[in-house]
């Protein structure tokens, strides 16, 4: 049963030594079979497609449901053989886990290609047809190309067993410097710049929205002030110092409850945390329900049709 997995010895129809011609042959055959299956599904009538989609959706989700419900093997050591059917299925599920996980990683990589195709199509057409702002589309396409080329070139250098150590900047070649400029100099700094805009937006939103129009709004504003002030060490030092001055050396005292840090802690622990947890329960149950409907193909809406 474990011969199904690529990482298990001995070799089986589903695995081959790493880097061998045998492995490449099997990969090509699998790829062709996959393409054939996709084409067949596209040509199939809708009445055939729906059950196929429903069955594959069910099988894909079934692994994770069984993985959750089935008793896990306890005290499993390397080289152990399963001691019965329950243990055997548990072993199989555990061994399959990293492989099933990797399937989703591989899918994500392929789907990224679809996204790149969309970008290339839209912006390529804009450049070819000379639309307004075609210049920016050209910049985008050039950016995709540059990052891809120099990023891969740099990675090849880093993984190469020969050549100088790239840990020292003095050893960097042209491609390493360009990759560093594009990634650290442009991409990361632009990311940071965009994130910094949020500070400005929060300020304008707070000025516009935090008005004491009702009792609830006033309560909200008061708690917001307390929490904001509690982040400022200078303010908490001063205000808590006043309380310390009044209560003297008594430690801890009733007056400690009036320290800004204590009030803020109480608000966070007693009001904020349970509220967030309550919302979390709702969202979690909603996600469970949605997952159940998708897994069992119970959705009869635009998505499933």
């Amino acid at each position: 049963m474990n011969g199904f997995f690529a990482q298990v010895i001995p070799p089986s129809p589903f695995n081959a030594p790493n880097g061998s011609a045998e492995l490449w042959t099997r990969l090509v055959i699998a790829l062709l079979l996959g393409v054939a299956a996709v084409v067949a599904l596209m040509k199939a009538p809708v009445s055939v497609r729906k059950p196929v989609v429903a069955v594959s959706t069910f099988c894909a989700g079934l692994y994770w449901v069984v993985f959750f419900l089935w008793p896990r093997p306890v005290n499993r050591l390397p080289g152990d053989m399963p001691s019965g059917l329950v243990d055997g299925v548990g072993f199989w599920l555990e061994d399959a886990n990293p492989i099933v996980g990797n399937l989703s990683n591989v899918l994500s990589a392929f789907l990224l290609g679809l996204g790149i195709y969309s970008l290339l199509r839209i912006h390529g057409m804009r450049v070819i047809k000379g639309h307004k702002d075609a210049f920016f589309s050209a910049v985008l396409l050039l950016g995709i190309l540059a990052m891809g080329v120099f990023g891969y070139w740099d990675w090849l250098d880093k993984m190469s067993p020969t050549g100088p150590s790239l840990a020292l900047e003095a050893n960097w070649a042209f491609q390493n410097r360009v990759r560093d400029f594009l990634f650290d100099g442009l991409l990361q700094e632009m990311d940071a710049g965009m994130f910094s805009l949020i500070a400005f937006y929060i300020l304008s939103a707070a000025y516009r929205a935090f008005r004491i129009r009702s009792i609830e709004a006033t309560l909200l504003l008061a708690t917001a002030f307390i929490v904001m002030l509690s982040f400022m060490g200078l303010v908490t030092g001063l205000l808590d110092g006043v309380i310390d001055g009044i209560k003297g050396t008594a430690d801890p005292g009733f007056l400690d409850n009036f320290k800004l840090t204590e009030i803020a802690k109480w608000l966070r622990a007693t009001v904020e945390t349970p509220s967030l947890r309550g919302i979390d329960f709702g969202i979690g149950i909603g996600a469970l329900a949605m997952g159940l409907r998708l897994w069992l193909s119970l959705e009869k809406t635009a998505v499933s049709s």
Binding site: P98, G101, S165, A192, Y207, R211, L221, M232, G233, A269
Partner: protein
């Protein structure tokens, strides 16, 4: 020809309510630029979650290996870079090996490597042993699916990272990471004394879901993720939590003063455990936490003032309308 109508002049109250957003933005730029020119030290009292985080990391056995999920990029460097820098300083000073991996952002591993490189160079400049990739730390890479990856780590860490290779040194071929001194003795995730996540997204949720009970967990999160992550600290599912810029500053201060230290007049008191944890007094402990804390003060002060001004304007306008 119609006579142009001049709108009536705005009253004081209306002016307070209609401050242009560009004026606010300009004030924010000025306020947050001030600490760039003046070095300001502000008082700070570390919170209990940060104290627990610090004492946990300081108690790690020397030479042990921990796993760090690093899911931040330069967009959150205000919080995360200071936290990561402080963490790496402690780990390197205690000769603790670590393996990093990411599940939230493909750029995260490079940002983490850059930070590790900077802290290592800092050590080299002081004449201390720099941290060497392969010998002291390894990069396990980026994995797009966080749930599946962390599930795999919980089930079988060697299979989760099977096939990952690193170059041990110049002139050597890429080798399985589990042959490195960092991971050679690790059979399961429970063999590590700690799994840390430095994140700006909700990957700590996933870590707790998949790995709680298998290995002790701790997190360094941005200020925005603080409220969500506090529930896990409060329930005991995380042994320590460092939140936001203040959390980074807490760690930096404790690195300087220690905890329950000196015993007769401690600067930072751990209410849960009286054990003395000496820090690294006099060493290079300051970082982004100290540098950005005054900026945080000024920005929050400006926000509070803006809210107060807006509300004063609203109250005066209502009073004027009533009369």
């Amino acid at each position: 020809m119609e006579t142009p109508v001049t709108p009536p002049a705005m009253g004081f109250a209306e002016k307070l309510m209609s401050v242009k957003r560009h004026t606010l933005y300009l004030l924010l730029i000025v306020a947050t630029s001030v600490p760039t020119f003046f070095s300001i030290t502000l008082p700070n009292k570390p919170d209990q979650p940060s104290i627990d985080f610090f004492t946990t990391v300081m108690a790690l056995p020397e030479g042990s290996t921990i796993l760090i999920e690093t899911d931040w990029t330069k967009s959150t460097r205000g919080d995360s870079m200071g936290q990561m820098q402080a963490l790496l300083r402690i780990l390197m000073r205690h000769n603790i090996k670590f393996a990093i991996y990411s599940t939230a952002d493909p750029a995260a591993p490079q940002v983490a490597r850059d930070t590790i490189g900077r802290v290592s160079e800092e050590r080299r400049a002081k004449g201390e042993r720099p941290y060497v990739r392969w010998e002291d730390w390894v990069d396990l890479g980026y994995f797009p699916n966080s749930e599946a990856t962390n599930n795999a780590i919980a089930t079988n860490i060697r299979k989760a990272f099977a096939g990952k290779t690193e170059v041990p040194g110049v002139g050597q071929p890429a080798t399985d990471v589990f042959r490195s001194p960092v991971l050679s003795h690790i059979q399961k995730v429970g063999d590590m004394p700690l799994l840390l996540v430095v994140t700006a997204s909700k990957t700590f949720d996933i870590i707790v879901e998949r790995l709680y009970g298998k290995v002790p967990l701790a997190a360094m999160v941005t200020g925005v993720m603080g409220p969500e992550s506090t529930v896990y600290y409060a329930s005991g599912q995380m042994v320590g939590l460092c939140v936001g810029l203040k959390g980074a500053l807490d760690i930096e201060r404790m690195m300087e003063s220690g905890v329950n230290n000196p015993p007769d007049k401690p600067v930072v008191v751990n209410k849960k455990n009286p054990e003395v944890v000496p820090g690294f007094p006099g060493d290079d402990n300051e970082g982004n936490g100290k540098a950005y804390y005054p900026t945080l003060h000024l920005a929050l002060t400006l926000m509070i003032l803006a809210v107060i001004i807006g509300n004063i304007g609203m109250v005066l306008t209502r009073k004027g309308a009533k009369s």
